[in-house]
């Protein structure tokens, strides 16, 4: 089990307190009816799925309940950093 630092609680807590919420920094289109099928495909389905540095969202669901972003290496599963939602991509 991995330990995850919640930037709101400022504590390292076990993984079972958290829910992974997929890739981070995917912005919902502001003009849905103006989107092409390819745009929708990219927004809904295409994922980076990198072997290495991955930006992802987590939710401290059994803690403060808030969403935050993290950078984790997908080969070692080591967290590089976690930061609050709305902060710029690291």
């Amino acid at each position: 089990m991995i330990l995850i630092h919640c930037p709101y609680c400022d504590e390292k807590r076990p993984e079972i307190e958290f829910a992974n919420a997929g890739q981070a920094h995917i912005a919902r289109p502001l003009d849905p009816s103006g989107q092409s099928d390819a745009d929708w495909e990219a927004y809904l389905f295409i994922r980076a799925n990198p072997r290495g540095r991955h930006h992802e969202r987590w939710r401290h669901i059994h803690g403060c309940g808030r969403f935050f972003n993290a950078v984790r290496d997908t080969v070692t599963d080591k967290f590089e950093t976690t930061y609050k939602a709305g902060e710029p991509r690291r």
């Binding site: 495909e41 080969v75 599963d77």
Partner: protein, 417 residues
């Protein structure tokens, strides 16, 4: 290639089994091939075999970054079934089940396909309705599946706890009698040996590091850790690493890779006659011919290439196993391991052409690719040989994520993904 038979076994026994030749040569890469398969698992080796056997393309290389069958082919729980809900899926998976029949004879290699039956448990009213819908849909597609009462389920699988005060009460079960298991390593070895006998080069320790394309964008070869290899046809069958390979050709794929775990117990005498899956509490189990209970757990919740999963996932599955099969409560587990599975948004595979000319893909089998091994190999070979998909894999194209024609087995959930 030595043909295996009772006679060859007897003859070699006379010399103490000391003189068996290698089953296939460890090939070194040639400068070029008519077709290259990236990924030496069951699917890739199967594709190479069918390219040579059915479609007459024998100048083929299979490139494997590790050793043959060392990825998900050697890490799965060996379950074979075809009881999927949608028509497209039923045709795809049943194509594979039909090929499993007679595969040992075809390859002259005992893959130990055992039609011991796959039983899926219903623990609540929703499960009952969902499984019965599956049964009806399967039967309309000519796929066998039948409903069992709790008593019939218990008769089919005696270790099952059907008491009414059980933690996970059994309200019934769906049984696919043609489902079962096969020896996963033998499948890889059997295909490798048969493909090599037809002229296919099986190249291990050869990771693909780049895909070279010509001025028009078509594939002209692959860069590997063992040098450049030319080929105008490249089929990628790399499971969890498909996204990584596709990035080399400038393609982004609708895939995410997760660790999926399995474990085996200490070996015991035969006690468990079939495969039982419980999707609601996510536990599935069978007993191998060596006597180990083979147990499949769930995926971790985050994208990872680590080939190991978290202990709490295994704990969750074992808690369910102990409730459903109380006789195994004191069993000790011997080994756990993880494999990296590539999951699509609709939990159906992607098998066909890509936007890059000469580049073909077989991926997205997620948590259940082993059962499809012969079918996926055959269909990838067909698609590469004809440069167009077979009608069975045509619906499983990449375009469906753009045009919306998903084959949503995630929602139909034959298993909790």
């Amino acid at each position: 290639m030595t043909r295996f038979s009772a006679f060859s076994l007897f003859a070699k026994a006379l010399s103490g089994h000391q003189n068996w030749p290698e089953q296939w040569p460890d090939a070194a890469p040639k400068p070029g091939y008519d077709a290259i398969i990236v990924g030496g698992g069951g699917h890739g080796l199967g594709a190479a075999y069918y390219l040579a056997k059915k479609y007459g393309i024998t100048n083929v290389a299979v490139l494997e970054k590790g050793w043959i069958g060392g990825g998900n082919t050697g890490r799965n729980t060996t379950i074979i079934r075809s009881n999927y809900l949608y028509d497209e899926s039923a045709h795809l998976y049943d194509h594979a089940v039909k090929l499993w029949d007679g595969l040992s004879q075809e390859l002259n290699y005992n893959i130990m396909y055992s039609k011991r039956g796959v039983m899926m448990l219903a623990h609540n009213v929703h499960d009952v309705q969902s499984l019965q819908r599956h049964i009806n849909a399967n039967r309309l597609n000519g796929v066998d599946n039948e409903w069992l009462t709790p008593e019939q389920a218990k008769a089919y699988c005696p270790p099952l706890n059907i008491s009414s005060d059980a933690r996970h009460p059994v309200l019934g079960a769906a049984l696919q009698r043609r489902g079962g298991t096969a020896r996963h390593d033998s499948v890889a070895w059997g295909y490798a040996r048969a493909a090599a006998a037809l002229g296919v080069d099986i190249i291990q320790n050869c990771a693909v590091t780049g895909i070279r394309r010509d001025a028009n964008g078509a594939v002209e070869g692959v860069e590997t850790t063992r040098g450049y290899i030319a080929s105008k046809r490249v089929g990628v069958s790399a499971a969890g690493n498909t996204s990584v390979i596709m990035h080399m050709a400038g393609l982004d794929f609708p895939l995410e890779s997760y660790p999926l775990q399995a474990l085996v117990s200490e070996p015991i005498k035969p006690t468990f006659p079939c495969v039982v899956m419980s999707n609601t509490v996510h536990a599935y189990m069978s007993q191998s011919d060596k006597g180990e209970l083979v147990i499949g757990a769930g995926t971790d919740q985050y994208v990872s290439y680590s080939q190991r999963g978290a202990l709490h996932i295994v704990e969750h599955t074992l808690a369910a196993i102990c409730e459903i099969f109380p006789i195994y409560r004191r069993m000790r587990m011997l080994r756990t391991w993880g494999g990296i599975v590539d999951v699509t948004p609709d939990r159906s595979p992607i098998l066909g052409k890509t936007p890059v000319k000469g580049l073909y893909v077989n991926c997205g089998w997620g948590t259940g690719g082993f059962k499809a091994t012969p079918g996926a190999g055959d269909l990838l070979a067909y698609t590469m040989a004809k440069d167009e998909p077979h009608y069975i894999n045509a619906p499983f194209n990449l375009d469906r994520f753009r045009n919306g024609r998903l084959i949503d087995e995630a929602a139909a959930a034959a298993v909790a993904h």
